[in-house]
């Protein structure tokens, strides 16, 4: 018996030693594996701000609400079912019976994870949390709240494609549109920290060392150039026009002339039910045939090469020119007769522009194209935002693609392609007397309140053309709006000045006819250009209108008008004596000896009389019109506080 006990004891000791010393390391490792882990401390993603410091994009917790249909007791469930369904139906505007059925089915099918709502903001989540049954909490009410960090956009749908985001799909592919996407990995992201931690209760981890192995570094904040006010005007002006003309999509960009800062950028596309939202970043991504807005580039090239001058006369003939059996027509039937080069631009004559270019460059088209190239029109703007459209201007040395139609068609903006922003950058350069700036979206990068990086204006080309040429075409663009014959005279306003060029061109003519792109590009005010702006509207309903001056230009005007009416006119006056009104009132009241008697106010002007009487504690009422005052209470009679005195004017 004792031997048996001894054997047992020895085997216990043997096992102990075996576990402790032989397999010890393995077991210690196993325990550490379960209880000790490198916890990743996520860095907070930086926020995106407007130029005025308003939040455009930031990371916030969002809430998913789910329901454990088995958690509540029968009593609680049945008692609250109707109330809860009613509350939900009110919140979502769906019939209560729908929710009643949904909740019942969930309980029957033993669903412990029924989705009630997704991505709720804080306030909404509080609301739902206090619905009947849910307010009993997770154990008795079956409420499950899941929190996750999401990107939120306080400005809503405004400028969404440009503000952008970073999104990972199920396959791990990352899409990065807009500013948030472009600068995400460089500035916003930050670096995650790491810390060796040990598991303790309630799902928490406690650090083992008293320092982090890798400190988390929160992302930096980005301050963009977007001006919320201009953006708001631009967005709604564009939206209104798209809705009016039932257009497919459109975009508008506003740029500051002297700095290249993009103040507003709006892109709206139509849904199948006719509403609009920020669908794609057309202004940056969509390269299309510009049409007549390209006449400016042709004109600048011709003036720079000094092959024409503004006062030269061109014969528009009968408004039709023929090249290789294909016609170039003016929008005015019969043409404009013999007109000057400047007027040809102002009335946007296709025949005149084509003649001007072909007459001077047909022997040497390379000269013309090289001139366009030297102005940077064949290159992208090298924007940080991904997906910039690539401009296309065929070079004569590209024998495969160059043919006889290229030069004449190019003169009025066909057979080439540019994005709206590329066109705008050129117009901005003209407004800026030839200095071409890169459109910019960022102002500075900050770490909380500390500036990390400041972005200054970037000059793409210090002189795309001479100052004289710039001045000449500026005058033409001014006349487009100002002169009666100008194509955009309909937006002329006597109170503020604008300059620009309309564009109406056919698009997808190879598919069907009658599809147009209406555009307007220009700047304001004329005298001292502050902002340049382009409006492009694709495929307006032809029956309602399709000309650039009718469809696109009003958006431009609205923005210009808004900015004009917001900027105060300063009127400086010199040497004016200011008499202080208050002291005058005091003199009146001080001149009265006995304040319990009614004074004579018939000799005073009305405002002084009211002030005086009210200072005496009387209630003044005024009737009639005129300059002579008759007082209802005789002067010298006793007065009481709050007594009514009527001043009758005759």
């Amino acid at each position: 018996m004792s031997i048996l006990i001894l054997i047992l004891a020895v085997s216990v000791v043997f096992k102990l030693v075996n576990i402790q010393f032989v397999k010890g390391d393995y077991y210690i490792g196993l325990s550490e594996q379960n209880n000790i882990k490198n916890i990743i401390i996520p860095a907070n993603r930086g926020s995106v701000y407007s130029s005025g410091g308003k939040l455009l994009a930031t990371s916030v917790p969002k809430y998913d609400i789910r329901f454990d249909a088995l958690a509540p007791s029968d009593k609680n469930f049945n008692e609250n079912l109707t109330d809860l369904s009613n509350s939900l139906s009110e919140y979502y505007n769906k019939p209560a019976s729908f929710y009643m059925q949904l909740l019942r089915n969930a309980r029957e099918s033993k669903n412990r994870y029924l989705l009630i709502a997704r991505n709720l903001g804080y306030n909404d989540h509080l609301l739902i949390k206090n619905f009947p049954l849910f307010k009993l909490g997770s154990y008795r009410g079956g409420l499950i709240i899941e929190q996750k960090t999401k990107r939120d956009y306080p400005m809503g749908g405004v400028a969404q494609r440009t503000i952008g985001y970073e999104r990972k799909d199920d396959q791990g592919n990352i899409t990065r549109p807009g500013i948030d996407g472009a600068f995400g990995s460089k500035y916003l992201k930050g670096t995650d920290g790491k810390r060796l931690s040990q598991k303790i209760g309630k799902g928490q981890w406690k650090p083992i060392e008293d320092f982090n192995q890798i400190e988390p570094q929160d992302g930096l904040d980005i301050y963009t150039t977007i001006d919320v006010k201009i953006q708001d005007v631009a967005h709604f002006a564009l939206l209104e026009q798209l809705e009016k003309f039932k257009a497919d999509h459109g975009s508008v960009v506003v740029m500051e002339v002297s700095t290249g800062e993009v103040k507003a950028i709006s892109n709206l596309g139509r849904t199948s039910i006719g509403t609009y939202y920020e669908k794609l970043n057309y202004a940056i991504g969509e390269s299309h045939e510009p049409g007549s807005t390209f006449k400016l580039m042709g004109m600048v090239a011709a003036l720079e090469d000094k092959v024409v001058d503004t006062s030269d006369v061109i014969d528009t003939e009968a408004g039709v020119l023929t090249f290789y059996g294909r016609n170039v027509r003016d929008s005015k039937r019969g043409g404009y007769g013999k007109i000057s080069v400047a007027k040809a631009f102002e009335v946007s004559s296709n025949t005149a522009m084509v003649k001007l270019i072909t007459d001077n460059y047909k022997e040497n088209p390379t000269k013309f194209i090289d001139r366009l190239y030297s102005m940077g029109l064949n290159k992208t703007l090298n924007l940080p935002i991904l997906g910039e459209g690539i401009p296309k201007i065929t070079h004569p040395s590209d024998k495969k693609n160059w043919d006889g139609l290229d030069l004449p068609w190019m003169a009025f903006g066909y057979g080439i392609s540019l994005t709206p922003l590329q066109t705008l950058a050129f117009y901005n350069a003209i407004a800026n007397d030839g200095v071409m700036l890169k459109p910019r979206f960022l102002r500075e990068v900050k770490d909380f309140d500390k500036t990390v990086e400041v972005f200054n204006k970037e000059i793409i080309n210090p002189s795309i053309c001479s100052k004289e040429t710039a001045k000449k075409v500026q005058k033409m663009m001014q006349n487009v709006v100002e002169k009666k014959h100008g194509t955009a005279h309909n937006i002329y306003s006597p109170s503020f000045s604008m300059a620009g060029k309309t564009g109406t061109c056919q698009t997808e003519y190879w598919k069907e006819s009658g599809l147009y792109i209406s555009s307007f590009a220009g700047y304001f005010p004329v005298e001292n250009p502050k902002y340049s702006c382009i409006v492009v509207i694709h495929k307006p309903d032809k029956k309602i209108g399709y000309y650039g001056n009718i469809v696109a230009a009003p958006v431009f005007k609205k923005i210009a008008q808004k900015i004009y009416s917001e900027t105060a006119i300063e009127d400086r006056l010199k040497g004016i004596e200011i008499t202080e009104l208050e002291s005058e009132n005091k003199t009146h009241i001080n001149s009265i000896e006995n304040r319990s008697l009614m004074p004579n106010v018939t000799k005073l002007n009305l405002s002084d009389a009211i002030a005086l009487l009210e200072n005496l504690g009387l209630v003044v009422e005024i009737s009639g019109n005129g300059i002579k005052i008759n007082q209802s209470v005789k002067s010298g009679s006793k007065i009481k506080k709050n007594q009514k005195v009527i001043l009758k004017l005759t």
Partner: protein, 68 residues
Amino acid sequence: MIYSSHSVDRKIHNIAQINESVKSLRSEFVDTRTILIKYKMESSVSRKINQMGIATSTDPPVKIIIIK
């Protein structure tokens, strides 16, 4: 030793709780700010006052500056 270990645990739970409330306060802030920005936007203000018959001015204000 045991006491300090527990007090660390307590502290960590405390921090976790505070973090949670920081997050929800931040969320509340952004959420409310979003509502405010939408109200404040000129387009929504003008939509509201248009019903009262007030329209936005098309002329700029004039600032009179007196030079002494």
